[in-house]
Symmetry: C2
Subunit: 457 residues, 2 copies
């Protein structure tokens, strides 16, 4: 049972890490148009490796945005088919000056590899590639299970291309289970399966006042100030208990089961330690009446990511800007829908807009929330594989983030999705100094080897 | 009486405009450190011209920031001394993409000259230089009045250097009156003297939440969001009637006299025309219970100029930023003080700061409000000079903006300050497509010639 594959993986750890570094050096920032060529370069890099290790039908699938990378090996008739998913695009690295080493020059420090994309998601995608390589080695160029690999380069910008492809070509993606490696463990040494994900709507609010920028000395007191108006709108979105004030926003929520709530209470979680080491703020905030674990995974939230416009340089410029923008997103939980949430939000923003300005909201992208049943046999296979490697029982959690494709796989391919991830809570996703714990990279490869093999058993 | 000087000015209009264009091509943006050399270049350009036309003792006076430019001609014993002031620095040109022609490539269109600094203040400073040149021509290398010229390159960043110099060297600036050309006319063809100016405090509020940027999926619901907190603070600074909620903020205000209020009511002002042509917003805002003219010149106001930080690029980045900043300024009116206003503001910001974040306020710069008595004989000389050129009676207004040096001249040199300005309300000060009406540039030169001559009579 996979002995040779595990041995191959163990022997080739250094090589796998060196390859990952090469992958990480490509600044495949999907949200920045200037980096479109880099995103494609990362796609080609990945496709070349899939071909090299033994996958068939490897190709780039063009979309309206960045390409998908597809490959398969379907030579195990009668056995299950696993659809392996990851994404090869990354978040922008800003603020650049807070990185201890450049974001696209991977560096090892303290047993971690630091780079943008280290854990989200190039490192976790590469684990799957290396697990497949080891299995091809053990089985003499074959696999013990049928495999399709489908990777995207737009996860960080909403994943429209892959969503469209999945909706339009479910037959080309026929599978029995999907494996997604893009989540994290609850704590180091605690194998974790994510069985729920929040959805999201990412929006912009644009406020326009005067027809052009005006001098605040001459027009202050008559011209509307779009930043003041925007601040008033944002302040109106939440109350002092961080309860979202959008009418009807909470209506469709299906609360967690008693079992879930009881299990979350048993998780090893020290709120004060979490505040100090992970967040580092004077106090935690969030909706009154809910535990931190509920608040970050089973309750909807609203955040502002930036407010572009106006004068942002050093010093003073006494301008009343003609317009101001806010980037506002909301996380959604079962059974909210992105369409319903956006409709209520957009209507409420108009309702609370102050006088003197025009306000427009835009939906930039969205994803639906999902919950995965823990009674599925593939969930059990994942639990067993991780037990073998980590010698620990798996904990089930819900993820606070959104992986839009999970909902698409569920809805259009009718497959259970196994969210087996090996990040750690302090990996600085989407932030400066993103890292991946190198030991988890190796144990992740081993866990995936065992899971894939068991899927074919 | 000044016939030859006016003739010289008339004959040399084209040359004066060409010189001004050369002056405007120097991007002397005082607020941007990268432009420090350009600011100095503008100072040297100005000093060279002062020397050429006949001023003596011309030199740059170094400060902690950008240099002052000084020159004098004191060869008229027994006559008054006029201190001429202007500033050779300009505001940043952003947003660049809204300029119809590049900000530092002056272009003539529709009888205007378009460039950053055209009216604020290079064009108006150059009028003084050209008026002095014409008088030197008429009086055979002499002047009919004693003159000192003192120009600064830090007006747009608070004018600390000149304030310090004035405070420390009042004897080197002895004068009977100061002439400041940095204001505007109430409407085209209506000669205007500004007899009051608002003061200001320009501040930053910095809000810090988590120790580093965090992923909003993973931490949304627990980590404080600095932009949300900042929005709540800003929303708390004003009520729905645009009344500033800082306790005690209005306490020290000395209301305008009944005469002033009556005169403002007689000014040719059409609120709807102003809204449409100058502001262009759906509605005007401002403190309830006060006319537009009062609101923009005789009442304190509060504006937000920009909110740097977080993600401001295109598309989506789901980050909870570790910190957020807001640039907030307040205009002050007599007899408020900048120190008192800032103290009340800073205390109130702390008082309304929401949980989970630390909040810091900083004073970037400040200036005191001033009112100038209309009974001063030099005010009458200015009125007469403008009547000669424009054939109209002068209106007295208060300016909404701040020219910090005016207060310093009053306080430390004990001189009345004549604010004789020739800008127009739609000149786009501090905004894209700043312009100066070329006819006003020429008539401004003529008005100054007559005013200076009458000061020596």
């Amino acid at each position: 049972m996979s002995k040779k594959a595990l041995e191959f993986a163990a022997k080739n750890q250094g090589k796998a890490l060196a390859e990952l570094k090469e992958f990480l050096r490509i600044p495949s920032i999907s949200t920045l148009p200037d980096h479109a060529e880099d995103v494609r370069k990362a796609a080609v890099f990945l496709a070349d490796e899939l071909k090299r290790i033994g996958l068939e039908n490897v190709r780039l699938i063009e979309t309206s945005g960045h390409p998908l990378v597809y490959g398969d090996w379907l030579g195990a008739p009668g056995k299950s088919t696993v659809l392996c998913y990851g994404h090869y695009d990354v978040q922008p690295p800003d603020p650049l000056d807070e990185w201890l080493s450049p974001p696209f020059e991977p560096v090892e420090r303290n047993g971690n590899i630091y780079a943008r994309g280290a854990v989200d998601d190039k490192g976790q995608l590469w684990m799957q590639v290396k697990a497949l390589e080891a299995l091809f080695q053990e089985y003499g160029g074959k696999l013990p299970v049928n495999v399709r690999v489908l990777c995207e380069g737009e996860e960080e910008v909403g994943g429209e291309g892959i969503a469209e492809y999945v909706q339009q070509h479910p037959d080309a993606l026929k599978a029995d289970v999907a494996l997604v490696c893009d989540t994290e463990m609850f704590e180091p040494e605690l194998p974790t399966l994510c069985v729920g994900l929040r959805g999201m709507i990412y929006t912009e609010i644009e406020v326009r006042g005067a027809k052009t920028d005006l001098h605040s000395g001459i027009y202050g007191g008559a011209a509307p100030n779009p930043f003041v108006a925007l601040a008033q709108i944002i302040a109106g979105l939440k109350d002092a208990d961080d309860h979202i004030r959008i009418p009807g926003f909470y209506d469709d929520i299906q609360p967690p089961t008693e079992d879930e709530l009881a299990a979350w209470k048993r998780l090893p979680f020290d709120e004060e330690h979490y505040r100090q080491t992970e967040v580092g703020s004077p106090e935690l905030i969030g909706e009154k009446g809910y535990s931190v674990i509920e608040r970050v995974s089973a309750r909807p939230t609203l955040d502002v990511h930036g407010m572009p416009g106006g004068f942002t340089g050093a010093g003073a410029k006494t301008v009343i800007p003609a317009k101001a923008l806010a980037k506002v997103s909301m996380r959604l939980v079962p059974n909210m829908t992105s369409a319903g949430a956006y409709e209520k939000y957009a209507a409420y923003v108009q309702q609370i807009a102050p006088r003197g300005v025009t306000v427009e909201t835009r939906l930039i992208h969205s994803g639906e929330p999902v919950v995965i049943g823990t009674d599925n046999p593939f969930v059990q296979k994942a639990v067993n594989a991780m037990h073998e490697i980590w010698q620990k029982d798996t904990v089930f959690v819900r993820g606070g983030g959104s992986i839009p494709i999970v909902g698409e796989f569920e809805r259009h391919l009718k497959v259970p999705v196994i969210l087996m991830g090996f990040g750690l809570p302090d990996d600085n996703l989407h932030a400066p100094n993103e890292k991946f714990h190198i030991a988890n990279f190796y144990r992740g490869i081993d866990s995936i080897i065992l899971f894939l093999e068991s899927c074919g058993a």
